[in-house]
């Protein structure tokens, strides 16, 4: 079957042995690739602890990876989250997925635990494990640099120290950021995976793929959110700073307020002006949303800039950029890190200065003191240890990103029902509630949102499995990506049949979470959102969410899902 290499790599770090395994045809047919592959592959071991030797860490590419389809350079990392205890996947960019596939593998499944620090090196069919005690303590960029021009997935000190929200950093600044999969890698004593491939990727019908690509590109060029004057291509995701501010749904001071007066100090425009940023992007991506300063420093994404800004009461752009750099270098998730420190600030009744923030981030990454050790557990465990779990602004122990749910009710429901916890990307209702894509919906209403969220969850499960970029869907749709998928694989899918696969993946994730004790009671928001108003203006009222309406919508969602 074209679009897949037909084989994967299984590595047992306990024995140091590697195996080539066949990619099952049924896996491709039913679970597409990427996230779908990983969720299915982990399903028989999901009740193991994240640090059990048999718990797999999976790197999976998708059928579009390495082809001419736009945004075809992504891949997924899957395991069980040390932070949320749920099944967890991260979609990640860079060029690792493309190199892995060009090396001849659809996926890598890593199990076992090494007795010493090791790194895995893949050069086409040559796979080796090399001792890496010498890399212990290295930052992610230092680790990556030690593998020359190979694409590299590395953990930093945070992963080594099993910080529950340690990330895996690909190609120096593309993060599998959320959920602590870096700690899974650290528990196996795997410091890095470096890969270089040289084979061409086979495609069934290049002419049809070219036609699909042109349709997608025409739609992207017509999308204000992607290629518009203020779109992602120009400002990166930081383009959202001004918009979310203007909608008064900007999480501020640990979600105590929803407006931060100084947000324009760190807007996308300000960042571009101050750092003279250039565009960079994942392999195969025309959008190039990653912004790099003139001296090579990576600019923070919207979630990061807002959480190190408004959430922590900081308007100093340079301090925010430095916080982001520390997170990338030490290998921790910037959203959870910023939110955990905001939670700490509220509980202690303090305001953390920029210098204290930077110091805390470094300390957390190496668990260097009692406080850092407590904060390395994430906001929920920290707040619970202080007898105030309600101060953690999280769902299923995953800290909420930078969209206050009181300003977008679909987002409120999507946070609650998300299989991986408080995540904006599972259903991404910001698309229609804020960005008006594909059309606008009433952000202050739960009306119809249960079904919209269900459809979007299925859709994004497909997107993560293909493995495409969600931003492309601000312009294109599954209609065009079904064409691209068919032209690559020779399948006969349409948008509806792909959504069926998405539903299959979503339901499997839900079942896996149930196997680990999750119930409907976990599909809930912190109490703050139901009892405290946000920051209203004369024109925009940000009220506490009506709990009865929320529960009705959640109940509708369950009925629609058939649960």
């Amino acid at each position: 079957m074209t679009g897949y290499t037909g084989k994967g790599l299984r590595v047992d770090l306990s024995t140091g042995k590697t195996y080539i395994i066949v990619t099952p045809v049924s896996l491709c047919a039913d679970f597409i690739g990427g996230r779908g592959f990983g969720v299915k592959m982990i399903s028989d071991r999901i009740t193991l602890s994240y640090d059990d030797a048999d718990m797999p860490l999976i790197f999976a590419t998708g059928p579009l990876v390495g082809t001419a389809a736009p945004t075809s350079g992504r891949m997924s990392v899957i395991s069980r989250s040390p932070l949320t205890d749920t099944v967890f996947d991260c979609s990640v960019g860079g060029r690792f997925g493309t190199e892995l596939k060009r090396a001849g593998y659809d996926f890598i499944e890593i199990t076992g635990k090494s007795s010493q620090w090791v790194s895995m090196i893949i050069k086409d069919s040559n796979v080796s494990l090399v001792g890496s005690d010498n890399l212990k303590g290295f930052t992610t960029s230092e680790t990556s640099a030690s593998f020359g021009n190979m694409s590299c997935a590395a953990i930093g000190p945070a992963g080594e120290n099993l910080v529950r929200y340690a990330s895996i950093v690909f190609d120096k600044h593309y993060c599998a950021g959320r959920g602590g999969l870096g700690a899974v890698m650290g528990s196996k004593k795997l410091k890095a995976v470096a890969v270089k491939g040289s084979s061409a990727i086979s495609v069934m019908d290049t002419a049809a793929l070219d036609a699909a690509r042109k349709e997608i590109m025409r739609l992207l060029r017509a999308s204000q959110a992607v290629f518009g004057e203020f779109g992602l291509s120009e400002f990166g995701t930081a383009a959202l700073v001004d918009l979310i501010h203007s909608r008064r749904m900007e999480p501020t001071q640990n979600f105590r307020k929803t407006i931060f007066d100084n947000a324009s100090e760190y807007s996308g425009y300000r960042m571009k002006e101050r750092y003279k940023t250039r565009k960079e992007g994942c392999s195969g991506c025309p959008v190039l949303c990653k912004k790099i300063s003139s001296n090579g420093e990576v600019m923070p994404e919207f979630e990061t800039v807002s959480h190190f800004g408004a959430l922590n009461n900081c308007s100093d752009l340079e301090a925010i950029v430095k916080s982001n750099t520390i997170c990338n270098e030490m290998g921790i998730d910037s959203i959870t890190a910023a939110s955990t420190i905001a939670c700490y600030s509220e509980i202690e009744g303090i305001s953390v200065t920029a210098e204290q923030m930077h110091d805390l981030l470094r300390r957390i990454s190496i668990r260097s003191c009692k406080l850092a050790d407590a904060l390395a557990e994430g906001s929920y465990r920290y707040a619970e240890s202080k007898g105030a779990p309600e101060m953690s602004m999280s769902v299923k122990k995953l800290e909420l990103p930078a969209y206050d749910p009181r300003g977008a009710y679909g987002m409120a429901l999507a946070y609650a029902t998300s299989n991986r916890g408080g995540c904006h990307l599972r259903a991404y209702p910001v698309s229609h509630e804020i960005l008006r894509r594909p059309v606008a919906t009433d952000r202050f209403s739960f009306e119809g949102k249960a079904r919209i969220i269900r459809i979007s969850e299925d859709l994004n499960a497909v997107v993560d499995s293909l493995t495409a970029c969600k931003f492309v869907f601000f312009g294109a749709s599954l209609e065009e990506f079904a064409k691209a998928f068919n032209s690559v694989t020779g399948s006969d899918h349409n948008s509806q049949s792909l959504l069926k696969a998405g539903e299959r993946i979503w339901n499997l994730e839900r079942r896996l979470n149930e196997m680990n004790g999750f119930t409907k009671s976990d599909d809930d928001l912190p109490a703050r959102f139901f009892i405290e108003d946000g920051s209203s203006s004369e024109m925009i009222k940000i009220s506490a969410i009506n709990r009865e309406d929320f529960l009705n919508a959640r109940n509708n969602y369950y009925r629609i899902r058939g649960w």
Partner: protein, 414 residues
Amino acid sequence: MPATTTTGYEAGKDKMISHIEKYTAKLVNQGLSMPNEVTMMLLDADISANRPLDDCSPELLGVFDRMNINSLLFARPAEPYWTIINFLLEHNDKGARSNKIVPQDCETRTFFHDIPVIEHFSSDEIYEALSARKSVIIRNRGIASWGHVSLEQAFVSFSSTCFSTYVKFFDDMLQIFSQDNADEQTAKQLNLALGLLKPSIPDFTTSTLHKGSAKTEIEALMMITEAGKAVVRHRLVDSFFGNISVFLNEKIYISQTGSSLEELETCIDEVPIDGSSSAGITASSELSAHKNIYLTTKNKAILHGHPKFSVIMSMHAARTASNEGKCNIFGMPLVSGDIGTGSRGIVNTVPPAIKNAGCALVCGHGVFTASNDDFNAPLTRMLKTEEYCLKECINILRACCPSSLTKFLPNLYN
């Protein structure tokens, strides 16, 4: 007919129904269908519809059951759209039954690619077609379309299907007649369509809008809202085909992307012209063209819409003119209509034309008009251009018509 719902909690039910009633009214008010010809269904946990579910076709309910969507619209288009669509189907067939219509206007090419055609009003066929496209034409029955976020998507797809087939019909006719390929049957079809055309023709009597340039933000918002209602009321465009802006105090006030022109009250973005805020990420996708016009001219108000005959004649002119850059229609320069920022993109082609002529006709796309104060002149210019294009279209068809067939083309709209 009152909308109904199966079950569901009260507050939700009322809102679902009002949503259905809103879009049913839009279809009717914009001359796209008749109330008793419309089936509109919206699904959350329960189905709401504009008629009792027992009266909804089981075939449509079957489609709804199988698709992962939240809204479904089926309607027979009003005249002249339905006659026009049927002609296109017959003409397309040429011996074999055609399974799609491929319009050439800019919007449809970008967002629709093509429009599938199916033979039977069956769940299976409708499902297959709608699984791959946003709308489908069902022979002898009507148009079906869907949404996965809102009924608005289904409405826009239905409206776009009517618009694009209308434009294609007249564009095809101009080609057939000007290439001397018309036969009696074609002339009769054209005559039939022309006889039914009136409901789709704009009201060309001019309106008086707010006079003078905006002096306050509130005035700017009011002017945009008023102009939006006017272009829809005149039937120059359907709800979603255009964008409008005012320039005041170094800020552009512009309709948001995908906003309904007759409902702009809460859908206007404020965009600093120096680019210092990216809150305009939700502004119309043609913001950059508006911005470049304001940067290079003294205009204070810009109106953009997609009147049908202006689009039709722009395509005809581009095909027949030897040099597009020097071509103009009714004093309006014709420019290329690529979407985006390339050299032939409207962001680069429209501003110079506006600077020189105060207006521009974008090939296969629509009209830009501007003024240095209010919307009176832009609206009048758009109306006059559309009226001219309608007459010119018919004049060309008559002029190209073989003498043996002129009896089939009465002297309409002169």
